[in-house]
C-alpha cells in the first residue's frame, strides 16, 4: 500500500472530507440566499430591480391606456402589486447602500424617485376608476422618465465608486 493510498484510506481523511463538504454546502446555501436577497454589488442590484419595476410600470401603462382600459382595471390592480413588490426590493437595496455611504446624493435622489412610483400608480388607477383618462398617458410617461433618471443616477454613482476605488489603488 503506497503512502497516498494509506493516507486516503484513513479515517481522519474521511472525517476531513465530510467536514469540508459540510462547510462548502453551508457556504453555497448562504451565498445563494444572499445573492437572491440582492446583497453584493448593491448599485448593480438596485439597477436590476429598477429595470423590473420599469417593466411593471410599462405593463400597467399598456393596460391603463388601451381601448378597454376600464375592463383592465382588475388586471392593473394585480400589476400594482408587482410594482409595490419591485419598489420595496429596489428601495431596500438602495437603503442598504445609503446606510454605508450616507452622503451619496445621487443614490438618495434615485431612491426618492423610486419611492414615489407606487403612489403615482395608485393615483393613476383612481383616475382610471373615475373615468378621468385624459392625462393617464402623461402620468405614466413621467413615471417612466423618473425611473430612467433613477437608473442613470445609479450608473453615475457606480462610476464614481469605481473611480474612487481606482484612486485608492
Amino acid at each position: 500500500m503506497s503512502t497516498i493510498e494509506r493516507l486516503v484510506s484513513s479515517e481522519s481523511f474521511d472525517a476531513m472530507v465530510v467536514s469540508i463538504c459540510f462547510w462548502v454546502i453551508l457556504y453555497v446555501v448562504v451565498k445563494l440566499i444572499t445573492v437572491h436577497a440582492g446583497v453584493g454589488n448593491l448599485l448593480k442590484n438596485g439597477d436590476k430591480r429598477i429595470a423590473k419595476l420599469r417593466k411593471a410600470v410599462m405593463h400597467m401603462r399598456m393596460l391603463c391606456t388601451s381601448r378597454g382600459a376600464k375592463k383592465n382595471l382588475a388586471k392593473s390592480v394585480k400589476v400594482l402589486d408587482d410594482v409595490i413588490k419591485y419598489e420595496k426590493k429596489a428601495t431596500r437595496v438602495l437603503t442598504m447602500y445609503l446606510f454605508d455611504d450616507r452622503n451619496d446624493f445621487d443614490v438618495a435622489q434615485a431612491r426618492n424617485l423610486v419611492k414615489s412610483i407606487p403612489d403615482a400608480c395608485r393615483e393613476a388607477l383612481v383616475k382610471l376608476a373615475d373615468k378621468q383618462t385624459d392625462d393617464l398617458g402623461e402620468r405614466f410617461d413621467k413615471m417612466l422618465e423618473d425611473l430612467k433618471t433613477a437608473r442613470e443616477l445609479l450608473k453615475k454613482a457606480d462610476m464614481l465608486d469605481k473611480k474612487k476605488e481606482l484612486l485608492r489603488m
Binding site: T3, R6, L7, S10, S12, F13, A15, M16, S19, I20, W23, V24, L26, Y27, V30, K31, I33, T34, A37, G38, V39, K88, R92, V93, T95, M96, F99
Partner: protein, 268 residues
C-alpha cells in the same frame, strides 16, 4: 522519518486542513449572514444606531462561536477554554471596569431608546444632534458643527433632555414695557401678533400673562405652541414681530433706571 510524517498527517494534518477550511468558509458565511441581517434590520425601519449596535453584537457572538467550533475540531477541550475565557473575563472585567460599564450602559441606552439618531439632546453640559450611539460612546454634533463624544456611562448617569421627543413645543417669550403703559391694551396687542403667525397652533391657543415683579418694567410672558421643527422660525419671527409692533404703536420699552432724589438736610 517518512513514517513519522505520515503518522502526523493522519493524526493532525487532515484535521488541521478541515479546521482551516471551516475557519475561512465560516468567516465568509458570517459575513454574508451579517449582510442579510443588516438588510432585514434596515427594512424593519429600526433606528440606524440600533442597527449598528445589533450588528456589532451579533458579529462578535458569531465570531466567538466560530472560534469555539474550530478549537473543538482541533481537539482542544472546550471546558478548559470556557474556564480560561471566564478567568480572562474576570481579570479584564476588573481591569476595564469603567470601559465595560460604558459598554453595558450602551446596551441599556439602545434598549431604552431615550433618543434616536438625529434627535437634538442635552446630556449633562453638552448639547447637540445625536450622530451615533456606539458601543462605548454617544457621538453628538453641536449646532456649530463640533463633535462631542460622551462615554455611555456618563450618558446613562446624566439627565437627558430630548428636545425632539415630542411633536409640539412651547415657546416662552418675555416682553417688558414701561409702567406707564396700559397692561390690558399691551396684552391684547401681543396676543394679536401671536395669533397672526401662521405656524403658531390655534389649540392650545396662545396666552399672555403679566406681572409687576420687575423694578423698572411690567413684564409680559407670551406663550405659544408650534411644531417642534418650526421652533426657531417661530421664536425668531415672534421676537421680531412683537418688538416691531411695540415700537410701531409707540409703546415705550424701558431700560433699567434709578431715580435719585436729593434731600436738603436741615442745618442744625
Amino acid at each position: 522519518m517518512m513514517e513519522k510524517f505520515v503518522s502526523f498527517i493522519e493524526k493532525t494534518g487532515f484535521n488541521l486542513i478541515a479546521v482551516i477550511v471551516a475557519a475561512v468558509l465560516g468567516y465568509l458565511i458570517i459575513r454574508n449572514l451579517l449582510k442579510q441581517l443588516k438588510m432585514a434590520l434596515l427594512a424593519s425601519r429600526l433606528d440606524n444606531a440600533l442597527v449598528n449596535f445589533v450588528l456589532t453584537v451579533v458579529r462578535f457572538l458569531l465570531l466567538l462561536a466560530l472560534v469555539l467550533v474550530c478549537l473543538s475540531s482541533l481537539g482542544i477541550p472546550l471546558n478548559g477554554v470556557v474556564s480560561a475565557i471566564s478567568a480572562a473575563t474576570l481579570a479584564v472585567g476588573l481591569a476595564l471596569k469603567d470601559i465595560l460599564s460604558s459598554v453595558a450602559n450602551g446596551i441599556m441606552l439602545v434598549l431604552n431608546c431615550p433618543f434616536k439618531e438625529g434627535d437634538y439632546v442635552e446630556i449633562g453640559s453638552a448639547a447637540g444632534s445625536v450622530k451615533e450611539v456606539k458601543l462605548m460612546h454617544t457621538v453628538l454634533t453641536t449646532p456649530d458643527n463640533k463633535q462631542v463624544m460622551i462615554p455611555n456611562s456618563q450618558v446613562f448617569a446624566s439627565n437627558i433632555t430630548n428636545y425632539s421627543a415630542n411633536d409640539a413645543r412651547r415657546i416662552d417669550i418675555g416682553v417688558d414695557v414701561d409702567y406707564s403703559e396700559n397692561p390690558e391694551k399691551i396684552r391684547k396687542m401681543l396676543l394679536a401678533v401671536a395669533n397672526k403667525h401662521p405656524l403658531v397652533f390655534e389649540e392650545p391657543e396662545p396666552s399672555c400673562h403679566f406681572n409687576y415683579s420687575k423694578a423698572s418694567s411690567i413684564s409680559f410672558n407670551v406663550r405659544v405652541w408650534c411644531k417642534n421643527k418650526d421652533y426657531w422660525t417661530v421664536n425668531w419671527d415672534l421676537n421680531e414681530q412683537l418688538t416691531k409692533t411695540l415700537i410701531d404703536k409707540g409703546v415705550s420699552i424701558p431700560f433699567p433706571q434709578v431715580t435719585v432724589s436729593y434731600r436738603k438736610e436741615d442745618k442744625k
